[in-house]
């Protein structure tokens, strides 16, 4: 069994430092938002967590497609890793969003397109894991996982569009936003810097966790094969 590569250890250290810096920036560097106050600071990690959740989802779908073409177990491990990281971060995204929505929208939850889409994404991820749990044969598990990841990734944008036809109240801070959205605001340069830095940091967190999870998946695979060998 090989030990942890040096580059990964370096990446771990960088990620921790970046996360500490980003936390510092969110609380002390970025100015307080004039209308919403300190609760707006949730925004930086909220969007960044959503970004990582999306990365995980796209990663799962892409590795699903590659798996079906190449039939290489490696891509199944990658897909599972992407899903597991995606679940955690989409959940963080939903929870932080609710914390922000309580004072701003005066409710923990509303069926806005983005909220609906995030929920459906979480549910599809969970269904993916339950599907895998129910199947013993590793090849079939990998094939079904890949198929479900592809189907799920196609369904999510459609959910978003269908929910979008209703009017939305979710603020769109990046890009052309609807100014009537409740809780919308303009970012000052310091806010933009903090925001970009959060995105950057979370991307590092994603890569770092992804790498670790893939390594874990490979080791699990090795253990499984060793066990099969001893049973023979």
């Amino acid at each position: 069994m090989n030990s942890q590569p040096r580059l990964l250890t370096i990446l771990d250290v960088i990620t921790v430092i970046l996360l500490l810096l980003a936390t510092y920036m969110v609380f002390f560097y970025a100015p307080q938002e004039a209308v919403m106050g300190d609760v707006q600071r949730v925004f930086y990690f909220h969007v960044a967590a959503g970004w990582v959740g999306m990365l995980g989802f796209i990663g799962a779908a892409v590795s699903g497609i590659i798996y079906l073409i190449k039939k290489d177990r490696k891509w199944d491990i990658v897909g599972l890793a992407a899903v597991e990281i995606g679940i955690v971060f989409i959940f963080i995204n939903i929870v932080t969003g609710s914390i922000w929505a309580r004072p701003i929208w005066n409710t923990w939850w509303t069926w806005d397109p983005r909220l609906t889409t995030a929920t459906v994404m979480l549910l599809i991820y969970l269904a993916y894991l339950m599907l895998r749990q129910g199947i013993e044969d590793p090849d079939r598990r990998a094939r079904f996982g890949a198929v479900y990841a592809i189907i799920g990734s196609l369904s999510v944008p459609l959910t978003y569009f269908s929910a979008r036809i209703f009017r939305t109240i979710h603020p769109v801070v990046i890009g052309s936003g609807d100014p009537s959205a409740t809780g919308s605001f303009d970012m000052t340069p310091l806010m933009t810097q903090t925001f970009m830095f959060s995105l950057f940091t979370f991307t590092f967190i994603f890569i770092d966790l992804f790498w670790h999870r893939i390594r874990l998946g490979q080791k699990t695979d090795q253990v499984e094969q060793l066990r099969l060998k001893t049973m023979e």
Binding site: A127, L131, G134, F144, I151, S162
Partner: protein, 243 residues
Amino acid sequence: MTIEQQSALPSESASGKAAGFLRAMGAVVWKDLSAELRSRELISAMLVFALLVILIFNFALDLDPATRREPTITAGVLWVIFVFAGTLGLNRSMAVEKDRGCMDGLLLAPVDRSAIYFGKVLGNLVFMLMVEIIVLPIYSLLYNVNLFNPGLLVVIILGSIGYVAVGTLLAAMAVQARTRDILLPILLFPVVLPVILAAVKASTGFLDGSEMSLIRPWLNLLIAYDIIFSAVAFMVFDYVVEE
């Protein structure tokens, strides 16, 4: 010439191939229908279940006669009935293939796998539409609303196509899992949500007598979903049934 012989011929024209495909598909549909005509277990189960859901909704919502006729209530309750009864049917239709090794027999036949998929989809669609056709007048009667609306029928057909296209694929996966009895709704509902959303909205629109411009986006969404998911399911079905 039987289907097997025909599709095994190496030199055949494109039209012959298409005819073979259709014939294989028809054979699968016919098998499902004739088995169902004899046993009647699937349709009757779906139907009784649908009636029970109507009953439960009546008490769960404790509707007074005025709200009972609200288009939003009608559309919502109808689609909940169809979705739940549909899950029952889909699970059963794939479970019978798995149980006695019928699926292996089907797969051994030298026909295109996608013909089997579309055959199963068509069979399930027929079952679902039959249940819907029976449920609609009963619902009309019990809830005292007029459901004889051509627009509503179009929505029901479009929605059922999308639902069955994804449902058949996912049911084929679910029955191969250890947890097969509980897995299908968990897999299917989050994925099929756009269909349900659009179908409920379009149904409400038609029952409400809204303008076509308000309903069209939902119909377009349903059609887009039907096309995208039939195509994708067609492409990946091979991977679901291969051993």
